[in-house]
């Protein structure tokens, strides 16, 4: 009997815990050349902004050991094109849509939340808080738990009440647990952990920063232990809050690592660039690994790493189960 892969993100039920991470799969159109995108748990779309945005100048990426550094600057066509063209396309293919929102101020986030959540077929919202906060000298909203909470609160208040809101945080913040708690108090329905980690690469030929603008975000398997640690600590502090884990997911074993740490689903980001069929391969690997572990329901793995050694996988205490 093949294992039950269903999982839950708050009130949303998903067929399986393998998602795509924001900004690493567009709205699914490119990946659809490689597999049927209705097969994965959900597509988290690239962060949508109110207006079209050209992003950052090239070079925008550099390879780093087991990872990459990127600074794309949230290039995108704006919410109107997204709602008229991209979202309907995804839904027409049977895809589940988690829509990531990026604003340049609380009011923008609120308007995005209203417009996007009212579009039919949106499964959940993800609030990308790693955006420059114009009222805080351009620091990220994640740098100050109060600022992050203001955004989450605004999104939650303006979004349709039956659309869950996930706050997406970075790992390299003063205190991830405090930030998560602030978001929870602002009525986030869940968390998405983690965004890219700040870093830089220097071109060996020119000895100048490899990415225009200098600093960028590190992603890929290199950051997986950082991401898993963050999920573990936040889940320990807030065991009731569902978590979407991301950061270097490459294999089915990595998905189970995130679930064991406390995530209810895991999103594949950078690895899509390396392996456009990754999501379906990972899905198969998750199934195989569960069968090998003798676990019947993927939900039983959630939080397993917090249970004492030897405790059986599974049981009624597993939060977020289907």
């Amino acid at each position: 009997m093949s294992p039950d892969l269903r999982t839950r993100l708050g009130s949303v039920h998903l067929d399986n815990p393998v998602l795509t991470a924001a900004g690493c799969a567009g709205t699914g159109r490119e990946l659809a050349a490689f597999f049927d995108i209705s097969r994965i748990g959900a597509v988290i779309t690239k962060s949508v902004m109110l207006e079209p945005r050209a992003g950052r100048p090239a070079p925008r990426v550099a390879e780093t050991p087991s990872g990459m550094l990127s600074a794309t600057g949230l290039q995108g066509p704006g919410v109107e094109v997204f709602l008229q063209r991209d979202l309907p396309w995804l839904l027409s293919r049977g895809g589940r849509a988690g829509v990531s929102l990026a604003g340049s101020g609380v009011a923008e986030y609120a308007e995005l939340a209203r417009r996007v959540s009212e579009a039919p077929g949106v499964s959940f919202l993800e609030v990308n808080l790693s955006c420059a906060n114009p009222s805080d000298q351009g620091r990220h909203f994640t740098d100050d738990p109060r600022e992050a909470a203001r955004v989450v609160h605004a999104v939650r208040s303006h979004a349709r009440s039956d659309v869950p809101v996930f706050a997406k945080l970075a790992a390299d913040v003063p205190d991830p647990v405090a930030l998560a708690e602030a978001c929870a108090e602002a009525r986030a329905d869940g968390l998405s952990l983690v965004n890219t980690v700040r870093g830089m690469a220097i071109d060996p030929r020119s000895l100048r920063p490899a990415v225009a603008g200098g600093m960028g975000g590190v992603s890929g398997p290199a950051i997986r232990p950082i991401a898993v640690g963050c999920v573990y600590e936040v889940h320990a502090a807030l065991p009731e809050l569902p978590i979407i884990g991301s950061g270097g997911v490459r294999t089915g074993a990595d998905v189970l690592e995130f679930l064991a740490a406390g995530a209810s689903a895991a999103a594949v980001g950078t690895v899509n660039f390396h392996d456009p069929s990754a999501c379906v391969r990972i899905l198969r690997e998750v199934e195989e690994a569960l069968t090998e572990h003798g676990v019947r329901r993927v939900a039983d793995v959630i939080g397993a790493a917090h249970r004492p050694m030897g405790a059986p996988l599974g049981g009624a205490d597993a939060p977020g189960g289907a």
């Binding site: 567009g26 207006e51 079209p52 390879e63 290039q75 995108g76 704006g78 660039f273």
Partner: protein
């Protein structure tokens, strides 16, 4: 999924050969060979299963053959760790290849005269183009440049397929000394070229564009931008391109290109976000209805 889109396959290496300063790898990849059109490229995973190199390496397809159901050949010079690893492959090794990727060169309906200009490894995609043009009865004139004699791509093949073949090197070790665009004007005049196809580094493409413009003929360019995915997902490969509506957009070289109409690429602004590009800092949405939808036509 689709019969036209790219596929991802693990293909056996048929052969690895040295060709001057380049290596030529041929893989057995029927699904890529049958879909391929000149100008498209493949993206190859490097370093093996436990590799620390996460990004695929893009290479223009140099040749496809019907052998073994369909083979694909690409040529490369060793630049860093990825191409170094590739150069050590042996026959029967498996390579994880995605392709064919990108938009191909548009082919003229009529048997016109075509000048093909390639710099360094930028010569690669021009060979399948030359064959396709010849099949349509076009005249082909080749211009191939390189840093030195051993970096001029497939000179012998070029001589065979083309009416004329002009070679240039930076060091004068083969053909004319100087940039490959220098003799372009003369070739256009002598061959009465109707169109120029060019592939190579941005400065070369810009220069080719200037020459073509001076002769009032169209130019098709294939750009080689840094690409982290090759499949349109990562937004790393953007170039400023003017759309049919006159609006500049940052478009992806991998899926919206690598082939563009030369006069559409804002060569002088590559590496910047032009102030008037859609969504540039300070850019303001124009109030016309339906405006946002226009970016469908980008590229």
């Amino acid at each position: 999924m689709s019969d036209f889109g790219p596929v991802q396959i693990r293909c056996p290496v048929l052969s690895v050969r040295r060709v001057d300063a380049y290596y030529a790898i041929t893989v057995v990849a029927p699904q890529i060979a049958e879909r391929f059109r000149a100008g498209q490229f493949v993206a190859v995973a490097v370093g093996g299963e436990a590799s620390a190199m996460l990004l695929r390496r893009p290479f223009a397809v140099h040749d496809v053959k019907p052998d073994y159901g369909g083979t694909v050949e690409f040529l490369f010079s060793v630049r860093g760790a990825g191409t170094s690893w590739l150069s050590e492959r042996r026959s029967r090794d498996l390579l994880d290849v995605v392709g064919p990727l990108g938009r191909p060169f548009p082919l003229p309906r009529d048997p016109v005269n075509c000048a093909l200009v390639g710099g360094g490894s930028g010569g690669a995609p021009l060979f399948p183009l030359a064959h396709a043009l010849r099949r349509r009865g076009c005249r082909v004139d080749f211009l191939l440049g390189g840093a030195s004699a051993d970096r001029v791509f497939s000179a012998i093949t070029a001589r065979r397929v083309a009416e004329t073949a002009t070679f240039t090197t930076d060091d004068g070790s083969f053909g004319v000394r100087g940039p490959v665009t220098a003799p372009l004007g003369r070739v256009i005049e002598e061959a009465r070229s109707d169109v120029v196809y060019a592939c190579g580094p941005m400065p070369m493409l810009r220069e080719a564009g200037a020459v073509a413009a001076r002769h009032g003929i169209p130019l098709q360019v294939a750009v080689e931008e840094t690409m982290a995915c090759g499949t349109g997902l990562c937004m790393s490969c953007v170039v400023p391109v003017v759309g049919e509506d006159g609006v500049t957009r940052m478009v992806r070289a991998c899926v919206d290109g690598p082939v563009f109409r030369g006069e559409r690429v804002r060569f002088d602004d590559v590496g910047t976000i032009p102030f008037d590009a859609l969504g540039a800092p300070g850019w303001k949405a124009r109030p016309e209805p339906g405006d946002g939808m226009a970016d469908r036509a980008a590229g």
